[in-house]
């Protein structure tokens, strides 16, 4: 399981005067620092899929980047199976699989070489890598294009190869940052099937998204972040029941309710 407790991250603003009017109104801007993530707390159990929701600029990507150890939090703790990953990022990286919608492949390498490279970076033996790629390519149905240069891939093929690359080292936790943004329906389905597959293997998955239908389809628990703070963290059922009255059961209304609790849910 993975536990995130009171995570904080601020960025230095080089020239506060240059920011737009809207940015200046953001309460997270204090002096020369922009407190992108102020207080984010949630946890994800074994075999659980957690959906991370929030408007653009809420701090989702920053949070996930801290989870993936790409960024170091200013304070707070991240524990995977009880081990603090902030103090030992190198160890943590072996147990994390990370994929974002913007992730690319090395175009001049074949899909197989791309996947193998990350296997090697993770210290896997060549024989293990080969075996693992065979398993993954069968599961994701990518034998037909695996040995072609990845620059010739379609979006769906790229996404399959990226998925295989992200889990080649059999991670204990998988983190996905808007994995379906910009994908067509087929490619999206590949990603959703993949998440379901991970869930069946009891691997916790944390993914951020703007698509509420994906949340209802896959998620066991939901966390909503706004302005760098956790606004809601709980089971999917609790979240879905937030909306009351005419909009009862609507995830959309529930989401609006968590962000603007004072307003009417339908606003």
């Amino acid at each position: 399981m993975i536990e995130i407790d009171r995570l904080m991250k601020k960025f230095k603003v080089d020239n506060p005067k240059k920011l737009s009017q809207q940015d200046k109104k953001d309460p997270r801007l204090q002096g020369r620092f922009f407190h992108s993530v102020r207080d984010v707390t949630f946890s994800c159990e074994r075999g659980e899929v957690l959906g991370l929701l929030g408007p653009n600029g809420a701090g989702k990507t920053t949070t996930l980047r801290m989870l993936s150890t790409a960024l170091t939090p200013d304070s707070g703790s991240i524990k995977i199976n009880g081990i603090d990953i902030v103090s030992d990022p190198l160890l943590a990286r072996k147990s994390i699989g990370f994929l974002s919608g913007a992730t690319g492949l090395y175009g001049r390498l074949t899909g197989r070489e791309n996947i193998a490279y990350f296997g090697q970076l993770n210290g896997m033996a060549d024989a293990d890598i080969k075996k693992r790629i065979d398993t993954l390519s069968e599961r994701l149905d990518m034998q037909s294009f695996l040995d072609r240069r990845s620059e010739t891939y379609s979006t769906g093929m790229k996404q399959k190869a990226s998925i295989a690359r992200a889990v080649v080292h059999s991670p204990k936790v998988v983190i996905l940052d808007e994995p379906t943004t910009g994908l067509d329906i087929m490619a999206t389905q590949t990603v959703l099937d993949f998440i379901r597959d991970l869930k069946a293997q009891q691997i916790p998955v944390i993914f951020s998204t703007h698509h509420l239908d994906e949340v209802s389809e896959l998620c066991d628990s939901v966390t909503v972040i706004d302005q760098g703070e956790t606004r809601f963290s709980g089971s999917y059922d609790t979240f879905a029941n937030l909306a009351t009255g005419e909009a009862a059961g609507s995830l959309h209304a529930a989401f609006m309710q968590t962000i603007n609790p004072t307003n009417d849910a339908r606003a």
Binding site: R93, I96, L109, F118, L121
Partner: protein, 401 residues
Amino acid sequence: MWLVFLKELKELLRDRKTLFFMIALPVALFPLIIGIASYIGVQAVKDVQSRTLSFAVIGAEFSPNLLQKLTDVEQFELVSLPDDIVDDEAIKAYIKAGNLDFVVAVPNNYSNDVLTVGQVALRVFLNDAGLNMVNQRLTDIVDEIAKANQDVAFAGLQLNSTQQKGLLEPIVIETVNVADNRENWGEKIGGFFPYIIFILCLQGAMLPATDLGAGEKERGTLETLLISPIERYKLVMGKFFTIAFAGVTSALITVVSIAVWGLILSQGMAIEVVTDFMASIGVIDFVLIFLMLVPVVAMFASVLLSLSIYARSFKEAQGYMTPIVLVVIVPVLIAMMPGIELKGIWAWIPLTNVALAIKELIKGTMDYMQLFAIFASTAIIAGALISFCIYWFKQEKVLFR
């Protein structure tokens, strides 16, 4: 680290654009361009030499001998001037109009008897702006006549050959150059060599550097790479060695290609001079030259990689790198200037001191203790730049801009 190096190298070798700039361009294209240019040049000179030039002589009656000799030249064709062309202005206009190629004006005091008339001035009107080689061919003819006249005069004065020589050139200066052949040539081309090598290394390293830093960002592969469980310094060193390797390789390929093509094109003309010169430098000095280049290439590679990873895109990276060429050219140009030696302040300016040291090595006049000091100081700078590059690769504000 070698894992990263090998993968980057593999990717580099599959990139047609990089390969083209690194190998095809220096091996085939540059020599081809130079070859074509020199062929055209030679051809143009040949054309001019074989072209028939028309000329006229004013005052031919004063020198039938000269006139005869001029008409005897196969490519000279005598034409007569119209009667109305008499003064200088008219002659000038006539030549400018393209009616003939040159006019020789013989003065009325022309004589073969030097002792009586003294010096004779022939005036030649020609359009010297184009390539026509009139002067050269005229001088050959006139010199022959002048020499004959001289001999007649000397004979009349009854001078022996020693006196004749003394009279023609009473005092001559004989220079005794204490520099041997190697030092002499080294001074002439030794400054040029580091200049070419530095620029080639830098150019060769630039393209891969852009790809390995900004390219990763642009393709969205950087984040994944950063969160893979490999220590950051290994990642940086892998990329660093790829860039340095590419720089050195492309420089070597170009130099070898220039050398090979030079030998082929010159077709053994000056081979002896070149081989003698090369042989005089010696293996140890060549090795030392190469060793001096190592920290320089390391400096280039780490600076380029730092700039590349800071840039958000290919375009931005190229923008940052262009001024680097200038920063490198200036100190090396200083080393090329005559009179600048490896002394005083120049021994302390990075790049300039290396360029000067390479020049001294080629000349064979290097103080090896100083060489060690320069190598050490350059290596320290390179080391500092590499450490900065590693530090730079750990900065969130650099990676996620």
